[in-house]
C-alpha cells in the first residue's frame, strides 16, 4: 500500500532521492550525458517491456509533473530522467509522449517545453478560466489575482516596466511590498521570487543604474498560459472602455492569441 511505503519505507526511498547533491554543474553534466534515443532504439526498448510496465512508468511521470505543478515549479528533463524515468531512459520519447497524452485527456493540462536549450517543461491549463465564479475557491486564487494585475501593467506598458512602477501600483491597491500582507505574506518575496521561480515573471537588473534598479517582463509560463485578450477585456470592464481603444495592445493580443490557440 502507498502509505505503508510512504511512511515506513520512506527512509530508503527519499534518501536515494535526496542524496545526490544537485549542484547546477552536476545537472548540466546529466543533461549532456542524456541524449535522446533514436526511434529504432525506442522501438527495440519497447519490445523488451510489457504494456503494464510502460503504463506504470507513465503513471509515475504523470504524478511527478502533477506534484511539481502544485507549486508551479518547472521540471528539468535531466532531473526527470534521473529521479523518475531512470532505467526507462532508452524509451524516454515514448514515455513523454504518453505522459503528454494523459495529462491532456484526463487532466486538461498541456505539457509545454518552455526552454528547448535546457529542456524545461511546465503544465499549462487547457481550460479557459470560467466566466461565472466557481463555487469552490481554490487556495491560490488571491495570489493569481495579484499576478494578473502585475501582468496587466507590464503588458499595457509595452512589455517591460521598472520595478518602482509595479510597487506604486500595488500600494494603490493597498498591497505594500514593505509590509507583511495578511493574504500574501512577504509581498516582495512573492513577486520577485515565487512568481519568478514559477516563470510567471522575469525580474532582471537594469545595467548601469545607481542605485540598483530592476525591471519586470512576462515570464515563459505567462506567455503560454495567460491570454492577453482576456487582460484587455478585464481592463475594458474596469475602465468602461472598449478593448479596441488600446489599439496597439489589441493588435498584439489578437495576433498572439491566434498563434497560441493554434498550438492547442
Amino acid at each position: 500500500m502507498t502509505q505503508r511505503n510512504r511512511l515506513s519505507h520512506t527512509q530508503s526511498a527519499s534518501q536515494s532521492r535526496r542524496q545526490p547533491s544537485t549542484s547546477a554543474a552536476q545537472e548540466e553534466d546529466d543533461d549532456t550525458i542524456f541524449t535522446q534515443p533514436s526511434s529504432t532504439q525506442v522501438q527495440k526498448g519497447l519490445e523488451k517491456l510489457t504494456a503494464a510496465e510502460v503504463e506504470r512508468k507513465v503513471a509515475e511521470v504523470v504524478q511527478y509533473f502533477l506534484v511539481k505543478d502544485q507549486k508551479k515549479v518547472p521540471v528539468r528533463r535531466a532531473e526527470l530522467v534521473k529521479n523518475v524515468v531512470k532505467e526507462y531512459r532508452n524509451v524516454y520519447p515514448e514515455i513523454i509522449k504518453r505522459t503528454a497524452r494523459t495529462l491532456d485527456q484526463v487532466f486538461g493540462l498541456k505539457l509545454v517545453e518552455i526552454d528547448s536549450k535546457n529542456h524545461m517543461y511546465i503544465l499549462v491549463n487547457n481550460l479557459e478560466p470560467a466566466d461565472g465564479a466557481s463555487p469552490i475557491n481554490s487556495p491560490t486564487s488571491p495570489k493569481m489575482g495579484l499576478l494578473f494585475v502585475i501582468l496587466s501593467v507590464v503588458f499595457m506598458k509595452g512589455g517591460v516596466v521598472r520595478e518602482n512602477l509595479i510597487w506604486n501600483t500595488l500600494k494603490k491597491l493597498r498591497v505594500d511590498p514593505g509590509e507583511k500582507h495578511e493574504e500574501f505574506g512577504d509581498v516582495k518575496r512573492l513577486v520577485t521570487d515565487e512568481f519568478v521561480r514559477q516563470r510567471y515573471l522575469e525580474y532582471a537588473r537594469i545595467p548601469h543604474t545607481e542605485p540598483i534598479e530592476h525591471e519586470f517582463r512576462w515570464g515563459q509560463r505567462a506567455d503560454a498560459e495567460v491570454s492577453k485578450a482576456k487582460i484587455l477585456e478585464f481592463l475594458g470592464q474596469l475602465f468602461e472602455q472598449e478593448p479596441q481603444s488600446w489599439s496597439q495592445q489589441y493588435k498584439e493580443a489578437h495576433s498572439s492569441q491566434a498563434s497560441s490557440s493554434s498550438q492547442r
Partner: protein
C-alpha cells in the same frame, strides 16, 4: 449517459487537485458549475456517476476521488487520494524523513488514544524516541502547523486529530498498520477515532459521534444496538449543513 471524459470532468478534477477535499454540498455545486461552463447535461442525483467517469480514467494513475464522512460534522466529503506505491506521492515529496517519522508517531498516539486525539504535549514528548534526526521543540511546533495547513491533521485547543482527508486517504494503511488498535464504527463500518463506546465490557462497540446522533435521533431511551445495554453517553445533535464548509 456518456462514459467519456469531457471538459466538465476535467474542470471538476482540476478543482479537486487544487483543494484536496471538498464537502458534498460544495461538490454538488461544483458539478453543476462545471456542467454549466461546458454546456453539458447535469442531473442533481448524478454526481456519483460523474465522479465514476473521472475515477475510471484516474485508475491507471493510482489516483481516485473517494467519499468519506467527517467525524466532527457527519457530512460526506470527496477527497482526491493517491494509492501509488511510488516514492513520489504527495506526502513524501513534501516532507523529510524525520518529519514523516513525527507524523507516524502522532498517528500512533491518535490511534492508541481513547478519543482519537493527541495533545501537543504528548507529541512533543514523543520526539525523544525519534530514530531519525531529532526535531527541536520549535521545529516540531512549526511542523505540526504545516500538517494542519496541508490538511493532514486538524487542531482544536492544542488537541490534534486526523483530518477527514487524512482518514479517507489513509484508511487502508491504518487498518493494516494497527489491526489490533483500530476501532470500527458499528453503524457505518468505517474506521472510527472520535466516537462513543458501549460501556458493557463484553460488548464495547464503537459508534462515530455523528452516527450516534443519527441513530438515536427521536429515541428518548437509547440502548446499545448490539447488546441492548443502556447507552449512557450524551447524544449529540445532528448538524445542519452550513453553506460552504470545506474541511
Amino acid at each position: 449517459m456518456s462514459r467519456q471524459m469531457g471538459d466538465s470532468h476535467r474542470r471538476f478534477l482540476q478543482t479537486m487537485m487544487a483543494n484536496g477535499i471538498i464537502d458534498e454540498q460544495g461538490a454538488k455545486a461544483l458539478y453543476q458549475h462545471c456542467c454549466e461552463v461546458h454546456s453539458t447535461q447535469c442531473a442533481a442525483d448524478r454526481l456519483d456517476d460523474f465522479i465514476e467517469v473521472i475515477n475510471s480514467k484516474l485508475q491507471p494513475m493510482f489516483m481516485q476521488i473517494r467519499k468519506g464522512m467527517s467525524e466532527v460534522t457527519g457530512y460526506q466529503h470527496y477527497a482526491l487520494v493517491n494509492m501509488a506505491e511510488t516514492d513520489i506521492t504527495r506526502m513524501s515529496s513534501d516532507y523529510a524523513d524525520n518529519e514523516l517519522e513525527l507524523f507516524r508517531k502522532t498517528m500512533d498516539l491518535i490511534v492508541g488514544s481513547e478519543n482519537g486525539t493527541a495533545s501537543s504535549t504528548d507529541i512533543l514528548n514523543s520526539t525523544d524516541s525519534m530514530t531519525t534526526k531529532k526535531l527541536k521543540k520549535s521545529e516540531t511546533e512549526h511542523l505540526l502547523s504545516r500538517f494542519v495547513q496541508d490538511n493532514w491533521l486538524s487542531e482544536k485547543r492544542g488537541e490534534y486529530t486526523l483530518s477527514t482527508r487524512c482518514i479517507i486517504e489513509m484508511e487502508q494503511y491504518i487498518r493494516k498498520m494497527y489491526p489490533d488498535q483500530v476501532k470500527v464504527c458499528y453503524i457505518c463500518h468505517n474506521v472510527a477515532f472520535q466516537c462513543q463506546i458501549c460501556e458493557k465490557p463484553t460488548c464495547g462497540i464503537k459508534i462515530h459521534n455523528p452516527c450516534v446522533a443519527r441513530y438515536f435521533k427521536g429515541r428518548p431511551d437509547p440502548h446499545c444496538p448490539a447488546c441492548e445495554e443502556f447507552w449512557p453517553h450524551e447524544i449529540p445533535e445532528i448538524r445542519r449543513p452550513r453553506s460552504q464548509s470545506r474541511r
